[in-house]
């Protein structure tokens, strides 16, 4: 077994023996500390010659017990004296690195500044994107088709199952709840109008946007962020490859292209779910539903829905890429930026949706 640190006292002399290391001291640390503090007040002669091992944690402990000065009489081996010497060479009281607690105006100011910086970053990214687009139009051979296609596949094709599942369930729920109400009013046939307008114009695009922001947006931020942490982005630019054309552009292009298709797909599945629920709940045949859909829902609603998909996809990718580029090379910043990306993307989408609602308030609403 390991030898324990031992402490004994003779008249006028403190004798330490055994192993004075962190590991050996740990089980009885409080006791040792108290004893040392007490002894150091009683005696000023210390005998450490029987100590077999003395590490710097123990040296700091002793030095503190001595009140930051060598005792008057000290017997210690050369090796252990060197350890104590290193502790003695430290500046006496090391100030704690103290940051003053932030005050309210500072916090608010910081938040505003951060929001402005983010806004400016996104505008700059948008500008860079326009420049890239101009460049690519003039040099079509340099369009990174492969990356674009890969992004359409990742953000679009691979999202088909989850968006279908969620869309179907929302369709069923909405239809079921509306049917209950409509039945009491005897207005069963209006289920087509309710489902058609709400899903195609509003729910489809927003639902997909929220799912995609969580799914693809966070993935984009994390990927670009890790590329920054591991200096891969720098490696790209040393090879003369533009990071905005090779990394950012395909992501934004891919998601902008894939989103309207996802919206179409999700709305279709959600409508199908609604139709099934209507069939079971109201005995409304599928054929009737499909035949009446174009009459109840002007086609402008579909255009609005797809347009929303396009804009939402662009916004999500822009926000995600912006936050990815802001990641600092540490894990904390990576997680913070990914969170901000998803939250900001969803907020931006809802905001854009409200603007859409106002701008298109006269379009595609059936006049009864």
């Amino acid at each position: 077994m390991k030898a324990l640190p031992r402490l004994s006292i003779e008249p006028g002399r403190v004798i330490l023996a055994g192993t004075w290391t962190l590991a050996a001291m740990l089980p009885q640390l409080a006791e040792l500390q108290a004893q040392l503090a007490e002894r150091s007040r009683q005696a000023d002669a210390w005998d450490l010659s029987a100590v077999s091992r003395l590490d710097s944690a123990a040296a700091v402990l002793l030095w503190r017990a001595w009140g930051g000065a060598w005792p008057e009489q000290l017997q210690v081996s050369e090796v252990h004296k060197a350890v104590l010497g290193r502790v003695a060479a430290l500046p006496g009281d090391i100030p704690a690195p103290a940051a003053p607690p932030p005050r309210l105006p500072e916090i608010v100011g910081n938040l505003v500044l951060k929001a402005m910086a983010n806004l400016r970053g996104m505008v700059a990214l948008f500008g860079q994107l326009l420049l890239d687009l101009g460049y690519l139009l003039r040099h079509p051979a340099e369009v990174p088709w492969k990356e674009c296609a890969a992004n359409v596949y990742k953000a679009g094709a691979q999202a088909l199952p989850v968006t279908a599942l969620v869309g179907f369930l929302i369709g069923v729920t909405l239809s079921y709840l509306s049917a209950l109400q409509l039945k009491t009013l005897g207005a069963d046939l209006f289920i087509v109008n309710i489902l058609g307008i709400s899903i195609i114009r509003e729910l489809g695009p927003v639902l997909v946007a929220v799912l995609v922001a969580g799914r693809s947006g966070s993935a984009m931020t994390a990927q670009i962020g890790v590329m920054r942490v591991t200096e891969e982005i720098d490696a790209l630019s040393t090879m003369g490859v533009s990071r905005s054309i090779r990394v950012i552009f395909p992501k934004i292009f891919g998601l902008t292209a894939a989103m309207p298709l996802l919206v179409l797909w999700t709305s279709a599945v959600a409508l199908f779910g609604g139709m099934l629920a209507a069939l079971l709940q109201l005995d409304l045949s599928l054929v009737y539903f499909v035949e009446n859909l174009p009459r109840a829902v002007p086609v402008a609603n579909l255009h609005i829905g797809l347009g929303k998909g396009l804009v939402f996809g662009f916004l999500i990718a822009l926000v995600a890429c912006h936050f990815g580029l802001r990641v600092k090379p540490n894990t904390e910043s990576l997680s913070a930026c990914t969170t901000s990306a998803v939250v900001t993307a969803i907020t931006t989408v809802i905001l854009a949706d409200a603007i859409f609602a106002i701008l298109t308030r006269h379009i595609g609403v059936p006049q009864l």
């Binding site: 700091v60 030095w63 503190r64 690195p97 942490v229």
Partner: protein, 251 residues
């Protein structure tokens, strides 16, 4: 004191899919030895250190540290075992979200026994040992140079006053002056505390100045292990190739 060897590997085999890195490898390291582990790039030195830490389980054989099997199920035994060793990773593995100071303070704070003043003194002591100053202490790992990362990581490995120190290429990326002071530091610690050190190194100067023993990893095995002078005199083809003209330095 116990007579258990500090590290004992018995018949260890390591496999990554098809790739066999170690085959039936055995090695026994006694307390107080400073063992230099040498071998070609990709021969599995880092992997062997990870075996010793229990980060990878061997596909066959057993690893014992201080006479305790790494497969020991009791988590408290495991934790106490880990506290007795320090590891310097090849690429530092500093916590990127913490400053240098907090990186070194982290294992000390985890003990939950030491007060802040004690921790602060210890951290500054360790940083001073590896030649980092107070100003460096507040930097984040991403703001350090390659050599500074090495030194900060060494300070962290030393934080808990380990009895066993595993070093993966400690002097790679250090200038000759720093290498020299590293050699002196580890030498001094070894004398003061009777440390056991296992270090992977490609640097013949460090090896010559510091190591007491040399283990040669080649052909998936330890092909030679023994005191420095003995290995230098051996005529194994890898040894001849590795030390080449520097063989004289070892003697």
């Amino acid at each position: 004191m116990t007579a258990d060897p500090v590290i004992e590997l018995r018949g260890v085999s390591t496999r990554f899919g098809r790739l066999v890195v170690h085959r039936d490898l055995s090695l026994q390291i006694e307390a107080g030895q400073i063992v230099a582990l040498v071998g070609g790039s990709g021969s599995g030195k880092t992997t062997l250190l990870r075996q010793m830490l229990g980060l990878i389980r061997p596909s066959a054989g057993s690893v014992e540290l201080f006479g305790v099997d790494l497969n020991e199920p009791d988590p408290r035994v495991q934790r106490d075992l880990r506290r007795r060793l320090g590891m310097l990773f090849q690429h530092g593995a500093l916590f990127s979200a913490l400053s240098v100071f907090d990186n070194v303070a982290f294992p000390l704070r985890e003990l939950r026994y030491l007060d802040e003043d004690w921790i602060r003194r210890l951290v500054h002591l360790k940083l001073a040992m590896v030649g980092l100053t107070m100003t460096h202490a507040q930097l984040m790992p991403a703001e350090l140079s390659g050599g500074m990362i090495k030194r900060a990581a060494l300070a962290r490995a030393l934080a808990l006053e380990p009895e066993l120190l595993l070093l993966d290429e400690p002097t790679a990326g250090l200038d000759p002056d720093r290498s020299q002071s590293f050699v002196e530091l580890v030498g001094a610690l070894q004398r003061e505390l009777g440390l056991t050190v296992v270090m992977v190194t490609h640097d013949v100067n460090t090896l010559a100045a510091l190591a007491t023993h040399v283990a040669v990893l080649a052909e998936q095995k330890i092909v030679a292990f023994g005191p420095k002078a003995e290995i230098a005199a051996s005529d194994h083809p890898f040894v001849a190739g590795f030390f080449g003209a520097d063989r004289q330095k070892l003697l």
